[in-house]
Amino acid sequence: MIRIDGVRWTYSGADAPTLDGLTLHVRPGETVVLCGPSGCGKSTALRLMNGLIPHFHEGELEGGAHLDGQAVADLPLDRLGRRTGTVLQHPYRQFFTDTTETELAFALENFGEPAEHIRERVTTVLDEHHLRGFTDRRLQELSGGQQQQVACAAAATHRPPVLLFDEPTSNLSAAAIERFTAMLTRLRAEGATVVIAEHRLHFLRDVADRVVALRDGRVHTEWSGQEFAALDDATLHAEGLRGLTLISRPAPPPAVAHGASVAGPTPPAGVPENGVVLRDVRCAFRGRRVLDIEEAFLPAGAITAVTGPNGVGKSTLARVLTGLQRHEGDMFLDGRRLSRTQRQRASAIVMQDVQRQLFTDSVEAELRLDARSQALLGDLDLAHLSDRHPLSLSGGQQQRLVVAAARLSARRIVVFDEPSSGVDRRHLHSITQVMRDLAAEGVVVLLISHDDELLAGAADQELRLKAIDGT
């Protein structure tokens, strides 16, 4: 179905090729997982399969890529689009319309299908993908997991024989990953050819026919699905890959908190001296209550993990803590009530999309380098980049740079919002270490994450949020 033979691809402006001698054949109906460290060429390989390389991205291509027997370079992008369905890492960025139904219809409309047929097909897909509950809401109002469901359905509506997923689970909760795996199983049963680029591997162990580890732009190792499921953690570690088993982490102790948003509330204890106390904090958006915490205590010197399904107010809590969000109620730090402006001065955040936080013209300037930050750059694998412009770095490097800036910010409250999405094993450890160091200095560290591997290594206590009843 897909034949890639000795492809070398260099993005224009890049010093080194991203793909270098990549040879990969995918048979019809096969499910193949591409894995490997950040920057190994996983996403680029997907772009080659759907024709974005060489039709959309600029660069130099050598070698041949064929889709269904035809050279990718010879087919126009919309003909390639009819044969492939692509889901990008951030589904909300690829939505073109504002409701589920119109998004599903989008490709069919552009391909000129008759209106009657589009309506039938959209109705079928709404049922198949269990999207009926979303039709009265706008796409921006859906949670990350729900948006992912819609994006997958939209990629499959025109029945392409090939489906490509770029890190589909990087921001999904365990329940949403389960739904995604079920959808993969169904697509496979229908005979679709599926290629998935992914760091988190445990959910794929029973779905993959073949797992291909890339390194430096070419195939490094290959396993059949069965061989892969039998690999031990030491082998994965040596390959720089994430673990295969869902880590059964010993649940960290629950944070002292209660309120309508708190799952498994803990009764109020004596108020400790150092740290953040929230009292009667409530937020609503257009009349819908999204966060309701009567009391919560986030101690200084500890990492508090904020967990819970997509859409229960975790990021809203982060905005309250950092003073970006209007709300009812009060927040205290070390016993002193802080206004929103004071909180903005006392806190730092690593956002999900870090490009929004890079303001200067070099890595050095971003960090106002001194001896301590040099060591930190080494730990975060950024030392060789200190003269570069932050916007010229890869996504993973930018993220580690913002982590470094947060580490050096000398603020009392530091929030990490999904810092491990798209992060490989090695960098997962270095980011965990940064959070540990901050906590050791007496900082209130808040970690929002769905990533069990990260939570197992980092969380000192857990504040589990739930949807408010009746909303």
Binding site: T102, A115, R138, Q140, Q355
Partner: protein, 246 residues
């Protein structure tokens, strides 16, 4: 946890759309905007301002936008007072210049009233389908569709960048006044960088899904003219006739 409606920096930038009593075809709404702006901005356009104002109020009432139904004539009256009454009370060249500007502003206000009806009752998808049905060239329909899609993204990104600036202590009015150029740079560079990244994903996905492809696009719900459109055209025509005959 990617985007809840409240995730850091990613908030819905467009308010919910209202449901009007008479549903007009998007082509009719666009035509009303076009017709209003043509006659009102024409050399003798001031005489059409009352008719355009009545049209705007009727459209606001139709979609249940009560606040606009009141604010539109009130706003127009205020600006008109500056344009026509103030020069009588205070005859001064400076006031005269000011009055001429206000006279033009009145025209924009009444056109805005009609245009707001189009914007608040039409989704980008409907508008794009309508433009296609009106057989406009593809270069116009595709760019209009992309623009409508991208505007809310830029607003959301701008909010997120501003939030990040506030936390780094480089946002707010104080910083803006002390280092205006630096503040603008620190705002626009990340805004452009992150908007471009979103734009890249968006256009890659749209092209793969056939936007701008050779085949003639269809619509899941093709726009249709109905009795409501006839009514709107008749009302508009009579308003224009009254203006001309008066």
């Amino acid at each position: 946890m990617t985007v809840t409606p409240v995730a850091v920096g990613e908030r819905s930038a467009v308010a919910a759309r209202s449901r009007p009593v008479l549903r007009l075809d998007p082509r009719t709404k666009a035509l009303l905007v076009l017709a209003t702006s043509t006659v009102v901005m024409a050399p003798n356009g001031a005489s059409f301002v009352p008719a355009a104002l009545v049209l705007g109020v009727l459209l606001a009432l139709n979609e249940g936008a009560w606040r606009r139904a009141v604010a539109l004539p009130a706003g127009a009256a205020c600006v008109a007072a500056f344009a026509y009454l103030l020069p009588l009370a205070v005859p001064h060249p400076a006031v005269g210049t000011f009055a001429i500007m206000a006279a033009y502003l009145v025209r924009f206000v009444v056109i805005g009233g009609v245009a707001l009806h189009l914007l608040s009752t039409t989704s980008p998808t409907e508008l794009t389908a309508a433009l296609r049905a009106a057989r406009l060239p593809r270069a116009i329909t595709v760019s209009a569709a992309v623009m409508l899609r991208f505007l809310p993204t830029i607003i959301a990104e701008a909010r997120a960048v501003y939030d990040a600036m506030r936390l780094r202590g480089i946002g707010g009015w104080g910083g803006m006044l002390r280092h205006p150029v630096l503040s603008i740079e620190r705002f626009t560079v990340p805004l452009i960088a992150s908007s471009l990244r979103v734009a890249e994903d968006l256009s890659a996905s749209a092209l793969l899904r056939g936007l701008g492809s050779v085949s003639r696009p269809t619509a899941m719900r093709p726009p249709r003219f109905g009795v409501a459109d006839l009514a709107a055209v008749l009302v508009t025509a009579s308003l224009a006739t009254v203006t001309v005959l008066r």
